[in-house]
């Protein structure tokens, strides 16, 4: 078995034989990413409508379905309509603390069967039971920590109340976000990721961050584009005009 010390020694020996191909530097990281992220947010607050337009264009280009509602209270009606149009009944949602609203009562009033994901870790038995519920669900409702205009991407951090597979196992993924999540570019995403990792603190305490750019897709059989091979067939994004807590 090769030990770390032996492996690293080999690496150093080989590196010692060369000075490389050309002078080069790695990417320059922001000195204070949390502060820079705040600045980006403040600047975007001035021009969020353009950023939202661009997000919408790109999101639709990758096959997403976009909605715009006035307030969080309007979200359940949209989810219910998506469900009814697809004859779907079983819904799972992020925990209200992660989603910013408790959509379950209103969804149940619309005749849907709703399971709210627990805010914290569970016993092994409960985890197994919830796995079955998630696997059987047809619609998964999540928030989005970032919505990236350049690429039409939704960024979701995992953690308590926000299991990884809410946006993966159900055939229809519905993400709810507001202007606070909007960023313009991948470069800005880099700043936010650095801020989450550093003193800025992450939006959630989980081990995974997923970038979702449209539905699950494949072109592996004769290059024919097909949606929903493993993950969701459809991705819906609901933009809420009234900012959270504002």
């Amino acid at each position: 078995m090769t030990t770390r010390a032996a492996f690293m020694a080999r690496l150093r020996t080989e590196l010692g034989k060369t000075s490389g191909l050309f002078a080069a530097t790695v990417a320059e990281r922001p000195a204070a990413p949390a502060a820079l992220a705040d600045t980006i947010r403040r600047e975007l607050a001035e021009r969020w409508p353009e950023t939202l337009e661009r997000f919408r264009d790109e999101f639709e280009r990758v096959g997403g379905v976009f909605y715009r509602v006035a307030a969080l209270g309007d979200v359940p009606a949209v989810v219910a309509r998506i469900a009814h149009e697809r004859a779907a009944r079983r819904v799972i949602t992020w925990h209200p603390a992660a989603l910013g609203a408790d959509v379950a009562p209103a969804l149940r009033e619309n005749g849907l069967e709703v399971t709210v994901m627990p805010a914290a870790g569970e016993t092994e038995a409960a985890r197994r039971r919830l796995r079955d519920v998630i696997a059987a669900a047809e619609i998964g409702v999540t928030g989005a920590d970032l919505a990236v205009a350049e690429t039409g991407t939704l960024v979701l951090a995992s953690g308590g109340g926000r299991p990884r597979s809410t946006s993966l196992l159900p055939a229809y993924h519905v993400a709810v976000f507001d202007r606070g999540a909007l960023v313009e570019s991948l470069a800005q995403v880099g700043v936010f990721l650095e801020a989450w990792h550093g003193e800025g603190g992450a939006p959630a305490d989980g081990g995974a961050v997923n970038f979702v750019t449209g539905p699950s897709r494949t072109a592996d059989i004769e290059l024919t584009l097909t949606r929903g091979v493993h993950g969701p067939r459809e991705v819906h994004a609901i933009f809420v005009e009234a900012p959270r807590g504002g």
Binding site: M1, T2, T3, R4, A6, F7, M8, L11, E14, T18, S19, A24, T25, V26, A27, E28, R29, V62, A120, G121, E122, R127, R131, T151, S158, G159, G160, R164, S165, L168, L186, A187, V189, G190, V191, L193, E194, H197, D205, G206, G207, A208, V209, N210, V212, T213, G214, S216, R217, T218, A219, D220, I221, E222, L223, T224, G228, V229, H230, G231
Partner: protein, 473 residues
């Protein structure tokens, strides 16, 4: 030294010949590579920063290699800090043993895999099966070739050589019922079949597109979502990664993300980019209980100071395959090893030594289309020429080839000999030349003219005409 499972029973020339006479393969290759080329071109046309970012990405890769010891050390510390485990494998055998042992210790019965060239390279599947762990490839293309008992023929589209009819037959055999030969229907069948396996598997195996030293994060880029399944559902996650895949920070990551999918499929981003750190956290419902990272050398470390160093920057996007006039004609299987295409020749030499590419080193027109397409501008032709030289100087090449090139080199170095060469060759070519062409040469030289004409030496060469001009002054 050669890879187990490589298709080397027949010589390269015959493998290529076979591919050239496979009508479906020819059609599939043309359609697929042309489409990938167009999509890539369009993606960069719409992305003015692209060229600058490619330069940046190239620099970041080189700078990272210069400090690789530092970044690997950092990566290991950060993975361990999060409760993950790191293993070190010098050879393919060692990597295979580590993964198999992890599966066995966890009592795994089934391992779901997301597409990984690194696990293809170490031929992991047979080793898992041998100890009773059923490996299941979950990328649709990989699943198809696993059922067919083949190897991938393209880095990002492993089953482009299969027709929907062939896929339907494979699925039918596996499920013991007829399956409609329609891509949409076939995808639905695969979804149902593999969904059960994702939920039942106790082990998830992935590669890694990147690993971030600063945070201990593994990054997986997929379109199907299988990478997410594999890292979310099974209780054990093992990632196998070439040691050169480490990058310093999340800031570096976004530079690569901006160009990777555009180069591969023309998408701005692939459907899913998954960043995972260590095992499941305390508050989480899902994620593995155990996370292991296997760092693979397998010939890479030796090249840090070797002639193939630049190939260590490869992102495995497949762009160089699509534009290569040789790959476009013969496809991936004819190369005979895990990694096809221009970059594949270099990686094969890296993994298996220069002996393995004595024929492959010549399977390139050196046209340079690969350098133009490569997101990090790897100078593949330069290294191919160096490999040809090495194959020659180490006497790996057959002796007639060496003699011919030595003679040619001697002629070119001595003007007096070169001047005599023209009239001598004109005399020698007389029985074989038709007009300005030599369509057929005798003996083993005939191999060269079997597929193309040799231009005949001109009735009066440039040098001879120049002499006349000077004389007449």
């Amino acid at each position: 030294m050669s890879e187990p499972g490589a298709d080397l029973a027949t010589p390269f020339r015959q493998r290529a010949e076979r591919a050239l006479h496979d009508d479906f393969l020819q059609q599939a290759l043309t359609i697929a590579t042309t489409k990938f080329i167009d999509l890539r071109r369009q993606a960069f046309r719409d992305f003015p920063e692209g060229e600058r970012l490619r330069d940046r990405a190239r620099e970041i890769k080189e700078a990272t290699l210069q400090g690789l010891d530092l970044y690997v050390d950092q990566l290991v510390d950060n993975v361990e800090r999060q409760g993950g485990h790191v293993h070190f494998a010098v050879s393919a055998d060692e990597a295979r043993d580590i993964v198999v042992d992890l599966g066995r210790r966890a009592g795994a019965r089934m391992a779901v895999k997301s597409k990984s060239m690194a696990t293809e390279e170490i031929h992991l599947n047979d080793a898992l099966a041998a100890v009773g762990i059923t490996p299941v490839e979950t990328d649709l293309g990989e699943y198809i070739i696993q059922l067919a008992g083949e190897r991938p023929s393209h880095i990002i589209a492993p089953a482009i050589h299969k027709t929907k009819g062939q896929v339907a037959a494979l699925f039918g055999r596996e499920l013991k019922r007829p399956v409609e030969a329609d891509p949409e229907a076939l995808t639905r069948v695969a979804r149902a079949e593999l969904r059960d396996k994702f939920l039942a598997a106790d082990m998830g195996i992935t590669g890694a597109n990147f690993a971030i030293a600063d945070t201990g994060t593994i990054v997986l880029v997929t379109n199907e979502g299988n990478g997410r399944m594999v890292t979310s559902l099974p209780r054990l996650h093992v990632a196998v990664m070439g040691v050169e895949k480490v990058i310093p920070s999340l800031t570096d990551l976004v530079v690569f993300l901006a160009i990777l999918a555009k180069s591969a499929t023309g998408q701005k981003l692939s459907s899913y980019t998954t960043l995972v750190r260590g095992p499941r956290r305390a508050g989480e419902l899902e994620g593995p209980e155990e996370f292991h990272l296997v760092l693979l050398d397998n010939g890479r470390v030796r090249q840090l100071a070797g002639p193939l160093r630049e190939a260590l920057s490869c992102l495995r996007c497949g762009a160089c395959l699509n534009v290569c006039p040789v790959y476009r004609q013969i496809g991936g299987h004819a190369y005979g090893y895990t990694y096809p295409g221009p970059i594949g020749i270099l990686l094969t030499a890296m993994l298996n030594g220069p002996e393995s590419v004595k024929d492959l080193a010549h399977a390139s027109s050196l046209c340079g289309a690969c350098v133009d397409a490569c997101p990090v501008r790897i100078d593949i032709p330069r290294m191919l020429v160096e490999l040809r030289t090495e194959v020659d100087t180490r006497h790996i090449a057959p002796w007639p080839e060496r003699v011919i090139f030595k003679t040619f080199a001697a002629l070119l170095r001595r003007p007096s000999l070169y001047r005599v060469a023209a009239p001598v060759t004109r005399l020698l070519q007389r029985p074989f030349a038709t007009g300005r062409r030599v369509p057929r040469l005798p003996f083993f030289f005939g191999r060269w003219t079997a597929t193309r004409d040799l231009p005949a030496v001109a009735p009066r060469t440039f040098a001879e005409r120049w002499r006349d001009l000077e004389g007449g002054r």
